[in-house]
């Protein structure tokens, strides 16, 4: 009960501060939009090429956007030492991570939802008939990115070369999530759409394992 109420209060804070500053969403949306538009004009892909390369490009754009979004996640808490105030106030430190990873997932999903129609139009890929399945993959992939990214953001925020450290740790760790998400997306954007259940299973397993690890070790990640 305490975890739930603390998480709700902290999630409210995350959403409120972001929608007031629009610091993360603005940067991320502009970045993804630029990548998608730029590649569309550079390659001018045909219908079949779009189906083959589109999913990879989409997830690569999401990954870079996520790394932009995750970097300030804990850094912002250091400006006024608010992380210490949170640590002193919550009975379960996992609430701090849980609220942040939910917020990061929501921000990522929001960005992805904005970009999907742009991608569909520019790359001439019909997405409406598999929209539900696509949103499921986006959710599972974004959750995996957020869980791992939030944990690593907490670690890197305390390091000296923090700007360099997060991408260095994050990119190799997220490669399996990206591969699985891309494979499932390729299947869904195929001329005869199908669901790559192995990929879905992997994403679920990744999310569960890393969420459990974060729950078990989160307290130590926040220690000074």
């Amino acid at each position: 009960m305490s975890l739930l109420s603390s998480t709700t209060a902290l999630l409210g804070k995350e959403l409120r501060t972001e929608f007031r500053s629009r610091e993360l969403l603005t940067t991320t949306v502009v970045f993804i939009l630029m990548v998608i538009v730029l590649f569309s004009f550079t390659f001018d892909p045909t219908y079949n090429e779009s189906r083959r390369f589109g999913p990879g490009l989409l997830w690569l754009a999401f990954l870079f956007a996520a790394s932009l979004m995750l970097q300030p996640c804990f850094l912002r808490e250091q400006n006024n030492d608010t992380l210490s105030a949170l640590r002193l106030s919550v009975s379960d430190p996992f609430a701090i991570f849980f609220a942040k990873l939910i917020a990061n997932t929501l921000f990522l999903l929001f960005t992805e939802a904005l970009m999907l129609p742009v991608f569909a139009i520019l790359y001439n890929v019909p997405v409406l008939r598999v929209l539900g399945q696509l949103l499921l993959v986006f959710f599972l992939g974004s959750l995996g990115v957020s869980i791992a990214g939030t944990a690593l953001s907490a670690i890197s925020a305390q390091a000296r070369m923090r700007e360099l450290l997060l991408p260095l740790l994050l990119l190799p760790l997220l490669t399996p999530v990206l591969v699985a998400s891309t494979q499932v997306t390729i299947g869904l954007l195929d001329a005869s759409p199908y669901i790559e259940w192995k990929g879905i299973g992997f994403l679920v397993a990744f999310d569960v394992v890393f969420l459990t690890l974060l729950w078990l070790l989160g307290e130590y990640l926040l220690e000074e």
Partner: protein, 246 residues
């Protein structure tokens, strides 16, 4: 002020050491603060004052040694120390901490900040407690303004209100007069006096003499992580605080 409903508690440091790699930030720190005592920590920059306060707040785990928060009865009976992790949890409940930074969110209003921390601390009747504190720190009329629009002094008032939300029996302050104008210092001194007189234990780091340092009934001087002076004699207390930066 508002810390009225607590049972007085002291702080006992038992051979506390803190090392960061090869650097010893604190060495053989051993002293006890009686419930209701007001102690000033003095010393040059880097002498270990902030580390000691953060250990007392439960934010930093000591490399060795024990920290306990004996109640008035336990202090007189000489209670045995409890494990550090348990004490870190107890520190959260017992102590209020005002750090060098304000520890509040610039993008939230004063009221939103206090309500957030009150909810996290599961403060009963949070809304009323927040209103009460905002009135007492003189920010009720500005409660809906974003903290980023506040002066440093006003931010410090929000920080103090945050630390007092759960009516702590121990107040830890790290250079609390930083950024305050002379009126702000007078206000803070009056607030701390009220808390001290109500039985709140106070441990604060200070630089030089001010209205706030006049409240201290004991001064401890740190140098390179070691306690080099500890006195309750009025003239010596003033002397330690006056020459803190010497």
């Amino acid at each position: 002020m508002t810390s009225r409903g607590f049972s007085p508690s002291g702080i006992r440091f038992e051979n506390i050491e803190k090392r960061y790699g090869g650097l010893a930030a604190l060495r053989r720190i051993r002293f006890e603060i009686a419930p209701g005592e007001c102690v000033a920590l003095a010393g040059r920059n880097g002498s270990g004052k902030t580390t000691l306060l953060r250990i007392a707040a439960g934010l930093v785990r000591p490399s060795s040694g024990e920290l306990t928060f004996p109640s008035a009865a336990e202090a007189s009976a000489g209670a045995a120390p409890i494990a550090s992790k348990t004490e870190a949890i107890r520190a959260k409940v017992t102590a209020g901490f005002v750090a060098h930074a304000t520890m509040v969110y610039d993008e939230l209003t004063a009221e939103e900040n206090l309500l957030l921390f009150a909810r996290l601390q599961q403060t009963p009747d949070a809304a009323n407690r927040v209103d009460e504190l905002l009135r007492e720190v003189g920010l009720f009329d500005r409660r809906n303004s974003l903290v980023r629009t506040f002066s440093r002094g006003m931010r410090q008032r929000v920080a103090i209100a945050r630390a007092l939300l759960h009516e702590p029996s121990i107040l830890l302050l790290d250079e609390p007069s930083t950024g305050l104008d002379p009126q702000g210092v007078v206000w803070l001194a009056a607030t701390l006096r009220q808390l001290r007189d109500a039985g709140c234990t106070i441990l604060m780091s200070l630089h030089g003499e001010s209205e706030i340092s006049m409240l201290a009934t004991r001064a401890i001087r740190l140098d390179a992580g070691l306690i080099v002076a500890d006195t309750r004699t009025g003239a010596e207390v003033r002397s330690i605080l006056t020459f803190a930066d010497a």
